[in-house]
């Protein structure tokens, strides 16, 4: 836990003439988790896509483990940084079996030992080995998201970027996936950046939380301070009030 695993400084992203991310800075220690909350259009997913290399059109400075990132990334980068998307149905190829989806990262990175790695990956995300030769539509939403997490872990990355990993799932399944994510983080010392609109979900997994509004990171707050209501920015206060009001109407 000496240097930070992810460091983002003054990141700006522009779509056409529109500034979507207006100079955002944050850092995440190795093995830590950073959460990002905000409304749709606040730029939180755009930050994640810039970090993951899906959008090369950005300015500023980004570092992974002390190495500055270029707009174009090499294969080594994608071995260290992987992403999990919101909708597991949209991110898994409908015509490919789970076996194919999971072996693809291994083939791309030239990692051998495919057979045992797939079986181990399925066991790690608590899926029965029978799902291996099924297609995505034969799995439930929660199982599909587990496959997406397993696929992201195939290349043994150190950083996992999570874009609303549980918002397409039922609350009972959400709890299982969140527990899985915390267990994996402990066993593999993974670094997470998680985007969500659900404050309770983010605070559950991440000790530090950034609040986005209109392309700016308006506040970085610890989960502890957020729980206690020690918020600085009006937008954070508003988001917290909404979340608490629904959770426990008597506490407002």
């Amino acid at each position: 836990m000496t240097a930070s695993m992810i460091a983002v400084e003054n990141l700006r992203v522009r779509f056409g003439t529109q500034d979507v991310v207006k100079g955002v800075s944050f850092s995440v220690p190795r093995g830590g988790s950073f959460g990002m909350v905000g409304e749709s259009g606040s730029g939180k997913s755009t930050i994640l896509r810039a970090v993951s290399g899906l959008n090369a059109d950005w300015t500023g400075r980004m570092e992974i483990d002390g190495v500055a990132l270029m707009p174009k990334r090499g294969r080594a980068f994608f071995r260290r940084v992987q992403m999990v998307f919101q909708d597991p149905y949209g991110s898994l190829h409908p015509g490919q079996t789970i076996d194919r989806a999971l072996s693809e990262p291994l083939l791309v990175h030239g990692i051998g030992d495919i057979e045992t790695r797939i079986l181990r990956a399925l066991a790690e995300v608590a899926l029965p080995s029978t799902v291996r030769f099924r297609f995505p539509h034969q799995l439930s939403g929660g199982q599909r998201q587990r496959v997406a997490i397993a696929r992201a872990l195939m290349a043994e990355p150190e950083v996992l970027l999570l874009d609303e990993p549980t918002s397409a799932l039922d609350v009972s399944v959400q709890a299982e996936v969140l527990n899985l994510l915390s267990a994996l983080q402990k066993s593999r010392n993974l670094t997470y950046v998680m985007v969500s609109h659900n404050l309770a979900v983010v605070a559950h997994l991440c000790p530090m939380i950034g609040v986005m509004q209109g392309g700016n990171l308006v506040e970085t707050i610890s989960a502890e301070n957020l729980r206690a209501g020690r918020t600085q920015h009006a937008h954070t206060t508003e988001l917290r009030a909404l979340s608490v009001e629904l959770e426990d109407p008597e506490e407002v």
Binding site: V171, S172, N198, A203, L226, E245
Partner: protein, 277 residues
């Protein structure tokens, strides 16, 4: 009572035989706010849609009784149903992006709904549409009436849908996950708007959602559905005192902002919950 439902069953024919998605649901809705909560596949949407007989063609519906204001929905002709659908019972769907006509302006769609049920001239309809947009608290209704769905934000689109449903002055509003595609801040606004309109117009409301705390916040009573059956009915205020292990499980697996837990409890499904009673 607006709706009386007794032993509703909805099944789908599959190569392996009939698979029942709704298995004996009984409920009544009056001028109140009723919430239906359950996971995906629990049959909550099918139950609500049965009231309007808006089900996929492959579905088979049976019920001992299924009445909307005394009209037998199952034996009613299409013409009689058309006088209920939209006109007396409105349905608000989840995602305005898919439910609005992309090539018609918001105003024209609302005006069309108004004219279809109330008649009147084009000019009257346009005026009514703008008035309805104002009622759903759109600040510049005349301008928004001229916009196409892709020019609207999610929250505005949902307001347009609500305005369209309100056009024929329905007695019952069925809202099927009306806010799950929206942000938390907008979500609260939309639900407050629905709550307010329901109170002002004396409508009945059926709010369908997977979000238990949200529903209990806005409804008078809540039905919890599991595997096609109502497992528990609770007064919204007494939700903390819910007894059924499934309801308890749903509440306990939620991460909490105020009371952090190191590990979330996971729902253990008991086969007895879905066993025939």
């Amino acid at each position: 009572m607006l709706v009386r439902m007794d032993n509703l069953r909805v099944g789908f024919r599959t190569p392996q035989g009939v698979s029942e998605a709704v298995r004996g649901v009984s409920l009544t809705v009056g001028q109140e706010k009723l919430g239906i909560v359950g996971e995906s596949g629990s049959g909550k949407s099918l139950t609500a849609r049965s009231i309007l007989r808006l089900l996929p063609g492959s579905a088979t519906v049976t019920a001992d009784k299924l009445e909307f204001d005394g009209i037998d929905v199952l034996s009613a002709r299409e013409g009689a149903l058309r006088r209920i659908r939209g006109k007396r019972a409105g349905l608000i769907m989840q995602d305005p992006k898919y439910s609005l006509n992309p090539v018609m302006t918001a105003g024209a769609q609302i005006a069309e709904a108004w004219r279809a049920h109330k008649g009147g001239s084009r000019r009257q309809a346009t005026k009514a549409a703008i008035d309805l947009l104002a009622q759903v608290r759109i600040r510049d209704p005349a301008r928004v009436a001229g916009l196409y769905p892709h020019e609207l934000s999610g929250g505005m689109g949902q307001r347009v849908m609500i305005a369209m449903m309100l056009a024929p002055d329905p007695e019952l509003l069925i809202a099927d996950e009306p806010t799950s595609a929206l942000d938390a801040t907008v979500q609260a606004d939309i639900l407050r708007l629905i709550e307010d309109l329901v109170a002002k117009r004396g409508m009945g409301l059926m709010l369908i959602s997977h979000d238990l705390p949200l529903v209990s916040h806005f409804c008078d009573r809540v039905l919890v559905m599991y595997a096609g059956r109502v497992v528990e009915e609770v007064k919204a205020a007494d939700l903390h005192r819910a007894k059924h292990p499934y309801t308890r499980g749903l509440l306990e697996c939620l991460p909490s902002l105020v009371k952090p837990k190191p590990q979330l409890s996971v729902l253990k499904r008991d086969p007895a919950w879905s066993a025939p009673q």
